[in-house]
Assembly symmetry: C2
Homo-oligomer: 320 residues x 2
Amino acid sequence: MLSHSKIKNNITRQKNNLKTTLTILGCGSALPTRDNFPTSQILEMRDKQFMIDCGEGTQIRMRQMSIKTNRLGHIFISHLHGDHVFGLIGLISTFGMLNRTADLHIHAAAELKTILTPQLKFFCEEIPFKIIFHAFNPRVHVLIYDDRTVQVFTIPLKHRVPSCGFLFEEKPRDRHIIREMIDFYEIPTWRIPKIKQGEDFETKDGELIANDILTTMPEKPKRFAYCSDTAYYEKIIPIIEGVDCLYHEATFMNDELIRAKNTQHSTAQQAATIALKAKVKQLIIGHFSARYVNKNGLLNEAKAIFEKTVLGEDMKIYEF
Amino acid sequence: MLSHSKIKNNITRQKNNLKTTLTILGCGSALPTRDNFPTSQILEMRDKQFMIDCGEGTQIRMRQMSIKTNRLGHIFISHLHGDHVFGLIGLISTFGMLNRTADLHIHAAAELKTILTPQLKFFCEEIPFKIIFHAFNPRVHVLIYDDRTVQVFTIPLKHRVPSCGFLFEEKPRDRHIIREMIDFYEIPTWRIPKIKQGEDFETKDGELIANDILTTMPEKPKRFAYCSDTAYYEKIIPIIEGVDCLYHEATFMNDELIRAKNTQHSTAQQAATIALKAKVKQLIIGHFSARYVNKNGLLNEAKAIFEKTVLGEDMKIYEF
């Protein structure tokens, strides 16, 4: 018979199927290019899909990537510029044709409902699911979504129209129970959920087994921050500090600093500076101006400040 | 010195740079696929671009094909289903960013203006060009566009909502003047336009030169018909008879005849039957259901009835 410690050492880490991934559907800016569609991405966290922004062609990219959306219930819209919302009506219309029945929640500034409602009435009157609008004030940092495992907060940004980013935070995960311990101590199934949450276990013989013998530490809850569109804005730093992954817009290179300032966008250098100051673990840059066919200049500029930068690419999946 | 007849025989046909081409941007149906965007195409006739329908992603396809749109003044919308109009707002918005100044004319059923206006007000208030809506009644066959060289007529179709196709007809082209005759008879430049239109020419010595010595026949005016979306509908035959090119929807194969009927679409066999009965010169089929990954079945079905059928393909240019 194996000892406790041997069992604990021998275990292979339970795969808990709770990968956190970011799928970029489009990371261009207002003008689409050969490589980049306008902005949209899907965050997969705790087995749920969250869509962030929905530029024109979002549903096309999803088809091109064969993305199933049965776990997509919530869409978050950063601001009401066309390149972040023009894909909504087509996506909703297609969900209708595919006979979706689950409610679809759209989180956005209040005006979106006003704009979208007449279109929905005309084009999507017979869709077999409900659309529920949740209005938020993009000017304040607040909790706008909360379920058993994930919370979403707004991140007020600085742009030509009210704009905000989103901070997705996992709630603490359950501890991993060691399969062999279940057999060893004959733990009944009904006790397992509580043990995963940290309870000790008393055997039939009255022996108290401490939780840390039965379980291993869960992964640290993941945090993802999305910041687009925005000028360089240090006020976001305390909110996004230490996130596992930051997506920050980098519309221009630094030689277009004045244009960046005028249009209230960021340069790659500025995105990297924010990443550095916020001590994030990884930076993905995106929302590139159509002028940059080759994006190595943007990447190099950012990496010179913050080494752990990667380029956003349409139809690429990032795991963190 | 060359004789008249030798000159006439020796001439190489003047290239008149007036090719008629159809560029398919999208020929999918409501659900986009890996290969097919929703419906949109650009007809180039007499040095002008006419857009027909504008599904989601139209502007993206134009970027992917590097299509310049400085000669695009008129957009024709067949009917108000999303897969034929959702790309309009993005296209207009992009034209604004590219500082277009020329008026943009949109020909459609009257409701389009009502739906599009609130969006234009919100997203495109500052665009530097005018949008002019022209409402037509899709239930009747009428002239809706007329300029010096091209006319456009509606073709009432049979669909779940009022829908019409479009017949584009060139007006007769000028005769080709034979360059060598200009030198031979010392024809002054100011006389050339009239000679191209058929006038004879009197030389300095009072000799009357018949027009058919000076010119060759122009190409026959081209005619293009677009018919989508529609059930099999023989009433269109007299309108489209003998066109140089017919684009006709073929959403399904014939084993889905009942579904075609219920959704008021056509099968490939039906599209070909229309082409055959209308004695058109060439048939392009399109608006394919997403179920057909390989479209050879559709093509073969049509070709069995009408040999001169080709498949519609996104981003392909057809010349006729």
